[in-house]
Amino acid sequence: MKLHTLSKSGLTVLAAAVASTASASDLRINGFASFYYGNVLDNKEIPGELYRGYGETGNFQYDTQFGLQFASDLGDGLTATAQLTAEGRSDYDAELSWAFLKYQISDEWSVKMGRQRVPFFLYSDFQKVGYAYSWVTPPPEVYNLGGLENTDGVMFEHLTDLGDFTSRLNFLFGTTSQTTNFGETDLDIDNENQVGLFWDLTYDALTFHLTYTVSELTISAYNDVGNGIGQTLAAINPALALTDDELDLLTVDEDEVTYLGAGLSGDWGTWVAAAEYASIMIDDSPTSSDRQAWYVFTGYRWDAYTLGLTYANYSSLNNDDTIDVLTDKNIEATMNAAAAGATNDVSAAGIEQLVGAIPDIYRAGEESSAVTVSLRYDYHPAAALKFEYTQDDVTQKPEDGTGEREFSPALVRVGVDLMF
């Protein structure tokens, strides 16, 4: 999603927005920015890995970002909105995060067409706008969706007052493809035919949120590895070739994904609190076949300060069936090679490669529980200073049996959020 994307999907909306300035001269420009420094504490790192983008050497880039939003009222209920963001974690490549037209059909119904944020969770709509909440970033256990936060599609909204309650229902049909940076590697992710239902119910200081979406997910990296293994096995002996069902367990190719989410938040002025639960289930998938995350947060405000405490839990298990297929194939291949008298030939090497180590992407399961203390100081009407300390307990590959590893990384982040 580099700048060239601008020309593809955003130009029309931008052009529409700019054109309207000439006539209506009501182009609104709003901006937000975050500048953060963070580092993982000495002896509290995960060896050879970054933790939430940070290592023991301090980093000014990962959570630093800049966003500009252009909105123009085109009259007769039509609004054009474009949001450009540049994030330090993507080398400040400008990205057209949003580009949509909104049409107010009636008092209660509206429709948005184009690239927009998926309202998965309570803070999703404004999750990049640090000024809008007291964390540095909302708990990544729940909020990190690996680039699927936005979608290209159409969303209908129904907004109505039910007595003292305000109800907002959103229906989404969308499709998105993203290149997401996971650690060292870029993953191509396609999330197609996404159908979603989102509901917010607000009563006084309380907001309740519910999410249900289904979509078809394709992750190229799994398909490359899975198909590679299939070819290796077939080359060793056609009898070892993977069945369609087995291949399905090694690949993420139009796999059905179900997202479920529920959240409750309250803001009583002095006290603020939120709790959310999210679950992602992928059918016959090698990883994250059952991913669950939740957090509880409470904050206390006095003067210009907000002190917050968050506990977050995450669990993404390996798929036992995937591990079983690989293990069985490994044994079969080894026996096959032994029967053929192979000891040190090509097939044995192939087996070694295959099963000696089950590829890491099939053992990416992880469990973690983190405590975060955050302090926000509103030292200026348009700027907030934040300090955050996170202590995590991470268990990697928990279902594997072999090579289970435990770490307790601790991260400190300090910086400023602005809006203008």
Partner: protein, 142 residues
């Protein structure tokens, strides 16, 4: 000792009253004289939080804000909306960046708000009560 004590008392009383004078000026919420909507505390709060864009009689409402950091604004937000300036900013940042709302237009002075309200049947604003003129109608005081 007694003199020192009473000087202290007098001094702190003076300070206290100065402080009160500065911070307890009365605020009036004003609309166009033709506005017949029965406007309640809750309506004012909803309109200024962007939760409603209409008066209770279904007429479009155009809320007007005052300069950030001004006494009149801080007092109005505290009393009528129940939020501090940073909380209000944070609240609006959520609406702005989701395309759900546009914050009330900000004007520079009580006089500017009175002029704007007097000229627009849809307008609603707040001013220091001492600045109110016949050109506008007071619907609430805080």
């Amino acid at each position: 000792m007694n003199i020192v004590k009473s000087v202290r008392v007098v001094f702190s009383t003076v300070l206290l009253s100065l402080f009160s004078v500065a911070s307890i000026a009365e605020i009036s919420v004003i609309v166009h004289p033709s506005n017949e909507a029965g406007i309640s505390d809750a309506d004012i709060k909803k309109i200024y939080l962007g939760k409603s864009s209409k008066f209770p009689n279904d007429m479009q409402a155009e809320p007007l804000d005052q300069k950030e950091g001004s006494d009149v604004r801080q007092q109005f937000l505290g009393a009528a909306v129940g939020k501090s300036e940073p909380q209000m900013k944070s609240h609006w940042s959520r609406l702005i960046f989701t395309g759900k709302g546009v914050p009330p237009k900000s004007l520079d002075s009580d006089a500017a708000v009175i002029d704007a309200v007097a000229a627009d049947p849809k307008a609603i604003g707040f001013v220091d009560s001492s600045a109110v003129t016949d050109a506008v109608k007071v619907v609430m005081t805080y």
